[in-house]
């Protein structure tokens, strides 16, 4: 059933990067040019120090030292200015590209059909938008500038070594095979280990949330020990993986220490031979040794960052996969005449051979409210989703105002049909912002009116800052009933012709359910509505009731008609519900 969203291959990922880079070519070139210049200027320090050494070795007068000292200061200032400027430019480049990428990504994600979102599973999307975007952002913010600086430092230092004497370069390169091998050895192991560690930390967080968020239940069931044991087990797993990663990292640095020793001793031995042969000065040797010593830091950073770069590239491929995905072709545009809904002979199965709907036909006239009643598994939610266009029927058709749902563009369909389920989400931000998602141009009075319609005005006004109170994640927490009232208020503001309510009042307690039923009734006024009801009072208030059983319509009629059928399914239900009447 599940089909994860696409992941871009290498060529597609590169294409995405190029697309993002193209409008900023000048910024990229100037940023790297400035950084290169700054690094190159910085490399003048060791030869200047070497020159000082030579001056001392030649017993020159103290006044001769002034010039190199002034130059050293000048080098430092120029390098500093260049570094600051270059890093700023590179950051600007990375950050604007990142902002573009995340906006494009969200754009594509929000355009995905609900069907595609369901297929992908919530976890896939959440991890791409949360984890992958963060990984790339961190790479852009820390790894990228450091990597750029390190690589520049390495390349230019090697050039400088060659300028001193090409044989110094050869000596330093003796370490390269060890470094090459170490980097490959590390990258192979680290990616899997780090991703296992990230997963373990996420699992640990989830466990903490489950245990802490469910603390009253844990106490009621006297499962404290068992829950603490679970937290300990998850935490232990994360700690163990982290320590394994540390062991790997320290072994990595151990191998690089060997490479450092090889390079340094080779350059010193080379200096010994070259000075003996009169090819270089003592100061030249000192400069070469200092170069190599300075190379340790950038070399270690660059090799370690290879791994970060790999992880970021994998995340980038996952974002690029979505960004590159073709938007679905737009069908012929058509406008529904009104809100009349005709569902004809709908068949649907999630798994072949297990039909959920087996020939359901329902007509809703414009403005009519029809309640769907039935046991769990009767196909109520599936029917709601087919009418809302979340899924396409296996066979049969759904038309709204004379237009086939399949012929409506996604945007048109959503303007016409709204679906509210028991899944509530309060968007982080002010209460007003949350409501204006449904209608951006609504003024405060419209918001107040919508809230009043769903009986939410009292608590909304009682919030610390009224409509401007920050709600949702990290803000004021709304109760389940309040959140669902908010959903109904959004529905009123969105003002669609057709509304599908799928147990939109289910998760509130019984007192909340009543408030919500009243609110729902008001939100549905003047619209065509298909209401999946679990409380019979809600069904009783509808214009017509459809009883579903095992994917078929078994009864249909008004509350009074159905109630008076002696052995009717609905009548039996109603008697059980109101046994006392």
């Amino acid at each position: 059933m599940t089909a994860p969203l696409p992941v871009a291959d290498r060529a597609e990922t590169l294409r995405t990067v190029r697309t993002l880079l193209r409008p900023r070519r000048r910024l990229a070139v100037s940023g790297f040019a400035v950084l290169t210049a700054a690094t190159a200027v910085g490399l003048l320090t060791p030869p200047l120090l070497g020159h000082v050494v030579d001056l001392v070795a030649q017993r020159r007068p103290a006044e001769a030292l002034t010039r190199p000292a002034v130059l050293l200061v000048a080098v430092a200032l120029v390098q500093a200015a260049g570094t600051a400027l270059g890093l700023g430019l590179v950051a600007r480049l990375g950050e604007t590209m990142l902002a573009d990428l995340r906006e494009r990504f969200l754009d594509r994600v929000l355009r995905l059909s609900l069907r595609r979102v369901e297929q992908a599973g919530a976890g896939d999307l959440t991890s791409r938008v949360g984890n992958d975007v963060t990984v790339i952002a961190e790479a852009v913010r820390s790894a990228l500038p450091e990597l750029a600086r390190s690589l520049l430092a390495i390349v230019l230092t090697l050039v400088a070594l060659a300028v001193l004497d090409w044989r110094f370069l050869l000596a330093a390169l003796l370490a390269a095979p060890v470094q090459w091998h170490t980097a490959r050895w590390y990258a192979r192991r680290s990616s899997t280990l780090y991703s296992a560690h990230r997963t373990a930390v996420a699992t640990q967080q989830q466990q903490l949330l489950e245990t802490i968020g469910g603390a009253p239940t844990v106490r009621a069931l006297r499962q404290s020990d068992a829950q603490v044991d679970r937290v300990v087990a998850r935490s232990t797993a994360a700690v163990d993986l982290y320590l394994r990663a540390i062991r790997l990292l320290t072994r990595f640095y151990g191998r690089l220490n060997l490479a450092e020793f090889i390079a340094l001793s080779a350059v010193l031995a080379g200096g010994y031979l070259l000075v003996g042969a009169g090819a270089v000065t003592i100061g030249g040797t000192a400069a070469a040794a200092l170069y190599v010593h300075h190379l340790f830091g950038p070399m270690n950073s660059a090799l370690r960052l290879v791994d970060d770069a790999q992880v970021a590239a994998a995340s980038l491929a996952r974002l690029a996969g979505v960004v590159q995905a073709e938007p679905p072709p737009a069908p012929h545009p058509a406008q529904p005449a009104d809100g009349a809904v005709k569902a004809a002979d709908l068949h649907f199965a999630y798994r072949p051979g297990h039909p959920v709907l087996a020939g359901v036909t329902i007509d809703l006239t414009d403005g009519e409210t029809v309640a769907v009643v039935g046991a769990s598994g009767a196909g109520k939610t599936t029917l709601a989703q087919l009418v809302a266009g979340v899924h396409r029927p296996g066979s049969g058709s759904v038309t709204i105002g004379g237009v086939d749902l399949a012929d409506l563009t996604d945007a048109d369909r959503r303007r016409t049909v709204a679906l509210v389920t028991q899944e509530v989400h309060v968007f982080a931000g002010t209460l007003a912002d949350d409501l204006r998602l449904a209608r951006p141009d609504a003024d405060d009075d419209a918001l107040y009116a919508a809230l009043a319609d769903v009986e939410a005005l009292d608590w909304a006004l009682a919030l610390p800052q009224g409509l401007q109170t920050v709600v949702g994640d990290g803000g004021h927490r709304l109760a389940v009933t309040e959140a669902q009232q908010l959903a109904l208020a959004r529905l009123i503001l969105a003002d669609p012709k057709v509304v599908i309510l799928d147990e939109a009042t289910a998760d509130a307690g019984s007192a909340g359910a009543r408030v919500l039923e009243r609110a729902a009734a008001r939100a549905l006024r003047g619209r065509t509505a298909l209401v999946v009801a679990h409380r019979l009072t809600q069904a009783a208030g509808a214009d017509r009731i459809v009883v579903l059983d095992a994917g078929r319509v078994v009864e249909t009629g008004t509350h009074d008609e159905l109630r008076s059928r002696p052995d009717g399914r609905y009548a039996t239900l109603w008697r059980a519900w109101s046994r006392s009447r």
Binding site: T45, A69, E95, V129, G213, L221, T250, G254, Y272, G509
Partner: protein
């Protein structure tokens, strides 16, 4: 600072010291080895100078080989020291954090409760993860700090031995240099921190929109949401760029200041060498050491920052660990055998007012609270989650306040309306984790009575299907049926159910109502609900109206005679 703040800070300090003391062996080993590592790093530039002096300048091959061997030994030593120091320090940090996490989890789910009071779950999770990690990281900071001081000392000794004036220039020069870089960088960095916080906002908004994608699509609000996200993303971008500029400025300042410092050391050192006070090798070593010194010095400032962060975190952790219990502790066990009689006398707690109510052993009673908050308060009082502000609740003539909270819950089982499911299989959820289903016939009856058996048939792995994090793999109605089955399967002598079927469809609810009595036959059962289907099967219904004595009667009689009741349950 107020006395309360001082007390909080003291508790935090104590916790911090405990965190280090608990790992003292690892911290000591790590510190000693880290000292070795830093000393080795300090020796490398010294050896470069020595080799230039003794081998390159003199042309002595024997000296070259001798000193290269020394260099090899130093490298081997510093490498090994680093490896085991890092492992010891990180292990100490992780173990301390792990230990705190365990204590925090234990405190939060402790029978006496109280740790959640005034704190959102997200906040507590943050304390148990980020704050615990920061407190644990003190161990790494102590290790690194010891090493940095040792490196400073080593450098000082080497330099002063070489030449007192040069040593003084480097040693007295380095701290002000670093300070200057810090002073130059501080306003920038402070700005950078707030900007960075601001910048994180875009990621949060995106995750929030995606989490609500079904809701957005349900009302066709994607376009609006995207426009809003673009705005936030752009303002976030501006903030990040300002932060990055600040950071770049700070990096540049560091480059400038340390470059000037090196130039000064080179100038002073060269003058000394020209006068013959030090050798050329000493000069090279001094320049190398001056550069090296910036490393340990920045470690010292890093340690300082870590300690400041850890202090704040330790205060938060200590506050949770020392949170007062929600119900005063008691040690007595309920009398056995349990009869299952409940008596409420003069109970008052917010909207809940019960002058007197007796529920006989084995009775099956419905309770309708006209104010839903009163129902919640009643269930919490019976579960000893919170003792009522006034009055007493007695179980078999024993006030609940005299009984140990967990022991009360062993006798009075409760399924509150907001009960959650844990990520277990359906079987373990209902029968209890790891427990063999003691009575298969009973379990089957419970599953059938709650229609969980029907649900199980639709699940991919039947009873062995995992319900997912907080039961998220299931629908609201399915979760509620499992919560009910779990409460029934535990067979407590007294069972309190709070709105057990609000998310269940009418067909299923009628089925559950039919079987509930049989499953609780002979045991006391209290149903706090307004569902007519459930109330109709109760022996009697008690109506809590918040004023006088509760009204009592059968569902049928109450519906007939009490208009407020009829309105509450049938509206």
């Amino acid at each position: 600072m107020t006395a309360a703040e001082r007390a909080r800070n003291r508790a935090g300090g104590r916790l911090l010291r405990q965190a280090v003391a608990g790992q003292r062996r690892l911290v000591a080993v790590g510190a000693v080895l880290a000292v070795g590592h830093q000393a080795g790093e300090a020796l490398v530039p010294v050896l470069i100078g020595t080799i230039v002096d003794e081998a390159v300048a003199t042309g002595s091959g024997a000296a070259l080989i001798r000193w290269l061997l020394v260099l090899a030994v130093v490298f081997a030593g510093l490498s090994a020291c680093y490896r085991f120091a890092a492992r010891a320090g990180e292990r100490a940090a992780e173990q301390a954090a792990h230990d705190l996490r365990r204590r925090l989890a234990r405190r939060v789910v402790a029978p006496a409760g109280g740790a959640e009071t005034g704190r959102l779950p997200g906040e507590l999770v943050n304390v148990a993860s980020a704050d615990a990690a920061r407190v644990g990281a003190v161990n790494m900071a102590v290790t690194a700090g010891a090493a940095a001081f040792a490196a400073l000392a080593t450098t000082a000794v080497v330099l002063l031995q070489m030449s007192v004036p040069l040593g003084l220039v480097v040693l007295l020069g380095a701290p002000p240099v670093l300070l200057l870089a810090q002073v130059l960088g501080r306003p920038l960095q402070r700005r950078s921190e707030t900007e960075q916080e601001n910048a994180g906002h875009a990621a949060g908004v995106a995750a929030d929109l995606v989490a609500g994608i079904r809701v957005l699509k349900g009302i066709g609000a994607e376009g609006t949401a995207l426009a809003r996200y673009r705005r936030i993303s752009r303002s976030s971008l501006r903030a990040t760029i300002r932060a990055a500029d600040a950071q770049a400025g700070h990096d540049g300042a560091l480059v400038a200041v340390s470059g000037v410092f090196i130039a000064a050391v080179a100038l002073v050192g060269a003058r000394l060498a020209l006068r013959g006070d030090i050798t050329v090798g000493d000069l090279i070593a001094a320049v190398g050491l001056a550069l090296f010194l910036l490393g340990p010095l920045s470690i010292v400032t890093w340690v300082n920052g870590q300690l400041a962060q850890a202090r704040g975190s330790a205060v938060r952790v200590a506050e949770v660990l020392d949170a007062p219990p929600a119900v005063p502790p008691a040690t007595r066990e309920p009398d056995r055998p349990v009869r299952g009689e409940l008596v409420l006398q003069d109970v008052a707690d917010g909207p809940l007012r019960v002058p007197r109510l007796r529920i006989a052993p084995g009775e099956f009673v419905g309770v309708v609270a006209l104010d839903p908050a009163a129902g919640t308060a009643l269930v919490r009082a019976l579960a000893r989650e919170a003792d009522p502000a006034a009055g007493t609740v007695r179980l078999d003539d024993r006030p609940l306040t005299e009984l140990e909270p967990a022991a009360v819950r062993a006798v009075i089982g409760t399924a509150q309306h907001d009960s959650v499911l844990f990520d277990d299989t359906v079987r373990d959820t209902v029968a209890g984790p790891g427990e063999a289903p003691a009575d298969r016939v009973r379990l089957t009856a419970v599953l059938a009575g709650t229609t969980v058996d029907e649900l199980v048939r639709t699940l991919p792995d039947g009873l062995d299907t995992r319900v997912g994090d907080r039961g998220r793999a299931l629908s609201g109605g399915q979760r509620q049926r499992l919560v009910l089955a779990r409460a029934l399967a535990a067979e407590p002598p007294v069972l309190v159910l709070h709105d057990p079927t609000t998310a269940v469809d009418a067909v299923t609810e009628a089925h559950i109502a039919d079987r509930l009595r049989a499953l609780r036959a002979g045991r006391t059962t209290v149903l706090v609900t307004t569902s007519p289907a459930l109330l109709a099967v109760a022996d009697r219904v008690v109506v809590l109206s918040g004023d006088a004595d509760p009204v009592t009667g059968t569902h049928a009689a109450l519906v007939r005679d009490d208009a407020r009741y009829a309105a509450a349950v049938l509206a």
